[in-house]
């Protein structure tokens, strides 16, 4: 078939995920050992289908053999059957023609059946692998998630699993067929005429060398190209999110030029990779065709010396074509496998990360202990500069804590520690007197209703966003939205609770989003309610209504409220004032107004104008 090879690494007609920058690439060292690991794991996924796999292979081999037998019959007809036939008796020719037909039919059914099984195996393997990967990602600690980065995890889940599917399917379909055709072709030519096949065997090492050399180079170049493609995506993303600023600063032409530079760079590297890969096809064709010429020349001598017949030369020609196509197919499979292996490595990297945040031995509840307690807790993200230090507080059931402090003072970190997203460096965090490290995750994480800053909303109904896969009844739902001051706007929506949100809740305003998130947090009346700066987009009036509703209807709930406004925390039972990770005040509003300078300063900055 004319030149549709080597143009692009993508298989056509298939849509795979958007190319997402992939930052955590494996280091080239200790690669071999890792690769072995990866392959071992891959084979584990094939294990459940072993029987099917073996049987498929068997059928595939038989089907492929048939393709090899056909040219052999052709030679036989020409050299052995024709001489015994006369014009009146052509029957033996038809008989052997019938055999050819039978082979063709067997090949058809065998290959079709095997291909269908390959599709099944590929489905099973990739479906299972993707599920396992998702499962593992759900159990990664936030620290591990941050290290991988979410975009990188997304691309592992989408394009990498896609490449593996492609690898399994293609390998089973033509990756097995091609080597059989290649080896079978060589064996049969050897059987027909060992001397003639020498001309082919001499060529093979050269071919192998050339093919591996070119593909190695090509794979490197494609990796380079992929990096450039990532860069381009980055620029488009930047421009997309910053369009207002770009237009406001009249930087449009500058950005266009910038993009064009990357565009050209990407295209050049793609061109280079493509051209490198494009070399292999003409070279292979040329070598094998030259081999064919050799066969005819050599064949002439062999026919003269009575060792062979012209018909055999003709079947040789057919075998050469088969071998040629098989070699080209094998080079393609190489690319597919190397891509798949790279992807398998990236997936395995996630699967292999050791479990963090393990649960320790259970501890008994202490009756008289406070419900939530921090005892001299210190923690640092990078283990050098402390993020928060010497944090202590204790809350009884139904009490509330307000945390206030400047940007980057460590307010949100305290929340993350309480949720055990990270393990603390020193001190203890206790719930009912039990260290949170001794609580199973399933028990710990059903205690909270949380609304983070810019929290997660999904493309689903409003009620499902509030319910969030918990079993919460309709009445509870309504109560939650009333407390969260969301009931009013929801009732104004045409579909009410069944209103379909778009991704990230983009079809709601900022204030509406926050109220939905607060509804989620209070729904089901969790033992501990955490609001992390989650009223910042609310105007003061709505905010004060919210506070009143929380105080009235969530009385039995222990709550922790992180805020920048004094007004949001001033009615809390305890207020913790943070500056650069250190507690610089702890007490009630009245106490702090007397004793804590920083608190007074904050209050001043927000309330000073009241008297104006």
């Amino acid at each position: 078939m004319g030149g549709r090879n080597g143009f692009s690494p993508h298989k056509k007609g298939e849509r795979h995920a958007i190319l997402i920058p992939n930052r955590t690439r494996g280091k080239p060292s200790k690669k071999r050992k890792e690769r072995l690991w990866t392959m071992k794991r891959l084979f584990q996924y094939l294990k459940p289908d072993t029987a099917l796999l073996a049987f498929t292979l068997f059928i595939k081999v038989i089907g492929t053999m048939m393709d090899l037998v056909i040219p052999w019959i052709l030679g036989k007809i020409l050299d052995e059957i024709v001489p015994i036939c006369t014009k009146e008796n052509l029957w033996p020719i038809f008989q052997w023609g019938g055999y050819m037909l039978i082979c063709a039919v067997i090949a058809y059914f065998g290959s079709t059946w095997a291909n269908r099984n390959s599709a099944k195996v590929a489905r099973n393997v990739v479906g299972k692998m993707r599920g396992d990967l998702f499962d593992r990602i759900l159990r990664l600690s936030p620290h591990q998630t941050d290290t991988f980065t979410v975009p990188s995890l997304v691309s592992r889940m989408s394009s990498d699993t896609y490449f593996i599917h492609n690898m399994v399917l293609q390998t089973m379909r033509s990756g097995i067929r091609s080597p059989i055709l290649l080896i079978g072709g060589i064996v049969i030519t050897l059987a027909i005429e060992p001397v003639l096949s020498l001309s082919l065997i001499v060529l093979l090492p050269f071919l192998a060398l050339i093919v591996t050399h070119i593909s190695k180079k090509g794979v490197k170049l494609y990796r380079l190209k992929q990096e450039k493609a990532d860069r381009m995506v980055e620029v488009v993303r930047d421009n997309f999110s910053g369009i207002r600023v770009i237009k406001a600063l009249s930087k449009v032409d500058f950005e266009k030029e910038h993009f064009q530079k990357i565009n050209v760079e990407l295209s050049r590297s793609e061109e280079k990779a493509g051209k490198t890969m494009a070399r292999s096809h003409p070279i292979i064709s040329m070598f094998l065709n030259l081999g064919m010429t050799m066969v005819i020349l050599l064949g002439a001598f062999r026919v003269l010396s009575g060792h062979t017949m012209p018909g055999q030369i003709i079947s040789f020609m057919s075998y050469f074509t088969i071998i040629l196509n098989a070699t080209i197919a094998i080079t393609r499979i190489f690319t597919v496998i190397s891509k798949g292996a790279a992807s398998a490595g990236r997936i395995d990297e996630v699967m292999r990360t050791p479990e963090e945040l393990l649960v320790q031995a259970a501890e008994p509840k202490k009756e008289d202990a406070p419900f939530v307690e921090f005892q001299d807790v210190s923690f640092s993200y990078n283990k050098t500069i402390p993020t928060v230090e010497h944090i202590s507080f204790a809350l009884r059931r139904g009490e509330s804590l307000g945390i206030i402090g400047g940007t980057g003072s460590g307010k949100s970190t305290i929340i993350q520690l309480l949720l055990r997203f990270y393990d603390i460096d020193s001190g203890r965090i206790l719930l009912d007197g039990r260290d949170i490290r001794s609580l199973p995750h399933s028990e710990l994480h059903t205690l909270f209703g949380v609304a983070f800053q810019n929290d997660f909303l999904m493309a689903d109904t409003l009620s499902e966003n509030i319910r969030f896969a918990r079993s919460i009844g309709g009445q509870e739902l309504e109560k939650a939205t009333e407390v969260a001051q969301a009931a009013e706007f929801i009732s104004q929506l045409e579909d009410g609770f069944s209103y379909e949100l778009t991704a990230k809740g983009q079809n709601l305003s900022g204030g509406q989003r926050q109220r939905v998130l607060i509804s989620r947090a209070v729904a089901g009346t969790p033992p501990i309610l955490i609001l992390d700066d989650s009223s910042s987009a609310l105007d003061y009036k709505t905010d004060s209504n919210l506070r009143a509703a929380l105080a009235e209807k969530m009385r039995e709930v222990t709550s922790i409220i992180v805020a920048q406004r004094i007004s949001s925390v001033k009615n809390c039972d305890h207020i913790l004032v943070l500056e650069q990770g250190a507690p610089i005040g702890y007490g009630t509003h009245e106490e702090l107004s007397q004793s804590c300078g920083v608190y007074q300063e904050i209050a001043q900055s927000q309330m000073g104008e009241l008297n104006a």
């Binding site: 078939m1 004319g2 030149g3 549709r4 849509r15 190319l19 056909i70 020409l78 024709v82 001489p83 014009k87 023609g97 050819m100 063709a104 090949a107 058809y108 059914f109 269908r116 599709a119 489905r123 479906g127 759900l138 936030p142 889940m157 381009m232 620029v235 488009v236 993303r237 421009n239 997309f240 207002r244 770009i246 406001a248 600063l249 565009n263 295209s267 061109e271 051209k275 070399r279 003409p282 064709s285 030259l290 064949g299 003269l304 012209p310 020609m317 402090g405 400047g406 980057g408 399933s442 949380v450 969030f468 991704a503 003061y540 009036k541 406004r565 900055s605 000073g608 104008e609 104006a612």
Partner: protein, 591 residues
């Protein structure tokens, strides 16, 4: 302004015609390509003819069992074979190299046009589009066009030459055998058409399924922390598994149906070989045909049926080419911002006097956002716009900067209607700090420098000092040369905002827009940068949008916006005395 990005539908032919236009954009390359395709295919067609003659030079007599070789013919033809095969390899290498350059040229052009178009789009357009969607058009869809366009064209061209050439050659060898051979033709064509019809919708479903799954994955992974916090891992895993299973089944269905495609192509080719072998042998026996001719015929037969079997592949390629091109073109055909009037004036000196004259505005026909607003802002005064969320505060900014055009009334800058001013100049007259900070992938210094024309390092540092972020920057690993990746994920919201404030400090614009500029900065930090903010506001006409009322108390004029109406207007004192909506809002924040 609410246009669906995909609103325009194409008649299929238009898309192809338009693509064809891109092919013709490089006529030189196209001509050479056509020439090369032609000659390399002719060369390929001569091959079997040569080998056939060479084989026939070796004669074997079955009666006497003796062989004879016509060495003269054999050597000549073997030599010719070597020549032709080398030439054809060289040609096909040059051809594929050329085609790669060719398609890359087209790709570059398409990508550039698409991106340029994108940046010329009104800002409102970006509010409706997903970044991921645009990225998939600019990378994946253009990639598809890149692979398909040049390849398919080459393929069609090659096939035409091969099929006709092979047909003629076969005819020359034996018309009787050709007749027999052609029996398989309707079979293969019929089969491919039938199969394609059956498979295509399955592949479409498969693409849709994988698209859905990827979207779902991206969404769920962005919510990891929340899922964890609520301990809902199991529930979301099982939901994911449901989607995953659906996708894999769609894959399986498509693969199952297409599983027979390859083998059947192979079968038809084997079938024709069997038929040719049998009939060829019969002709051989009757002395009508030599073995060499039979060999040539078989080789030509493969060349003939190959492209016909490939036909279904080309069809599905063209299908995906078309849908990719449609997506690219539909984006390209969106209305750009209205170009500047030909007689639009250049702004050289801006005083900064702004007037709204009976302005009405609506984003969608159903809902008017601004009903009849008239307002005059003298130069260097500060106007504050307050009101509950969603009341239309940001709309005013969109209108000032001409991100949207008003439907009724006029907005004047220094007495000139803003439609009469070059957009570039109009926007340059403003500098702004928005609630949503924008930092791009680049160094800290680059991010601050953006917006001014090549400021010196000293100017950059001064701006950072004024914004009160200099010390923080110095504490970063590489100071001003620290690379901010992923929109500055590695620094806090407040610091990001300070960086964009520093960016505005560099601007020499006469008007300033602060859209909730300090809402991400805590109040104490805010006080610390207030001095800097005041310096930024000096000698500028300022528009301040805020819901934190303390920041706007000193404004010369306060507009209170509610449900798109300006319900109150005046300075702080007047409004407090009035005891209306503003006073209520103001008091509620200290309850």
């Amino acid at each position: 302004m609410k246009q669906e990005p995909n609103s325009r539908k194409y008649a299929g032919r238009n898309v192809y015609l338009r693509l064809f236009g891109y092919l013709l954009a490089f006529p030189g390359t196209a001509l050479i390509a056509i020439f090369l395709v032609f000659s390399s295919n002719i060369l390929a067609l001569i091959g079997p003819e040569l080998s056939g003659t060479a084989i026939d030079a070796i004669r074997y007599d079955f009666e006497t069992h003796t062989a004879s070789v016509d060495w003269h013919v054999l050597l000549l033809y073997c030599f010719l074979m070597v020549l032709f095969y080398v030439a054809s390899a060289v040609l096909s290498f040059i051809l594929s190299t050329l085609m790669i350059s060719y398609s890359q040229k087209i790709t570059r052009k398409l990508r550039k046009e698409l991106f340029d178009k994108l940046l010329d789009m009104p800002v409102g357009y970006f509010d409706q589009l997903q970044a991921g969607d645009v990225i998939s058009r600019i990378s994946y869809d253009i990639d598809t066009i890149n692979t398909s366009l040049a390849n398919d064209l080459l393929q069609i061209f090659t096939s035409l030459i091969s099929v006709t050439g092979a047909f003629i050659c076969m005819l020359r060898i034996s018309w009787q055998m050709l007749l027999i051979f052609l029996v398989t033709l309707p079979l293969s064509i019929g089969y491919t058409v039938w199969k394609t019809k059956k498979v295509r919708p399955l592949f479409r479903r498969r693409s849709a399924a994988i698209g859905n799954l990827n979207g779902y994955t991206e969404e769920m992974l962005s919510g990891l922390k929340t899922i964890k916090a609520y301990g809902r891992e199991k529930q979301f895993l099982s939901r994911y598994q449901g989607q995953n299973r659906e996708t894999m089944d769609a894959y399986y269905m498509a693969d199952y149906q297409s599983a027979s495609l390859g083998p059947s192509v192979n079968f038809i080719s084997n079938l024709s070989i069997s038929i040719i072998s049998v009939s060829g042998a019969c002709f051989y026996v009757t002395g009508l045909l030599s073995p060499g001719r039979i060999s040539s015929f078989i080789l030509y037969g493969r060349k003939f049926s190959g492209p016909i079997n490939e036909f279904s592949n080309i069809l599905s390629d063209l299908q995906s080419l078309r849908s990719a091109a449609e997506r690219v073109f539909s984006l390209m055909d969106e209305f750009p911002e209205k170009p500047d009037d030909p007689d639009a004036i250049e702004l050289s000196e801006v005083r900064g006097e702004v007037e709204f004259d009976h302005v009405k505005f609506r984003y969608t026909p159903e809902r008017e956002i601004i009903h009849n607003l008239s307002l005059k802002v003298p130069a260097q005064k500060t106007v504050a716009i307050v009101g509950p969320t969603g009341a239309g505060k940001t709309t005013l900014v969109n209108l000032l900067m001409r991100f949207y055009d008003v439907q009724h009334g006029r907005i004047l800058l220094d007495g000139v209607p803003i439609e009469k001013i070059r957009r570039r100049d109009l926007r340059r007259a403003y500098t702004m700090v928005l609630q949503e900070t924008w930092l791009f992938n680049g160094t800290v210094a680059e991010n601050i420098a953006y917006g001014a024309d090549n400021p010196t390092r000293e100017e950059i540092e001064n701006a950072a000092k004024e914004a009160g972020i200099h010390r923080f920057i110095l504490s970063l690993p590489q100071g001003y040369d620290t690379y901010l990746a992923d929109g500055g994920l590695n620094i806090s919201k407040g610091q990001k905002q300070l960086l964009t404030i520093a960016r505005s400090m560099l601007s020499k614009a006469k008007m300033l827009i602060l859209d909730e500029a300090t809402s991400n900065v805590d109040t104490r930090t805010e006080i610390k940068i207030e001095k800097a903010m005041l310096r930024l506001m000096e000698n500028k006409t300022c528009f301040v949008i805020a819901h934190r009322l303390s920041t706007i108390k000193n404004a010369d004029l306060i507009l209170v916006v509610k449900d798109g109406d300006v319900v109150e207007m005046g300075n702080h004192k007047e409004l407090m005395q009035k005891g209306g909506f503003y006073a209520e809002l103001y008091r509620s924040q200290y309850q």
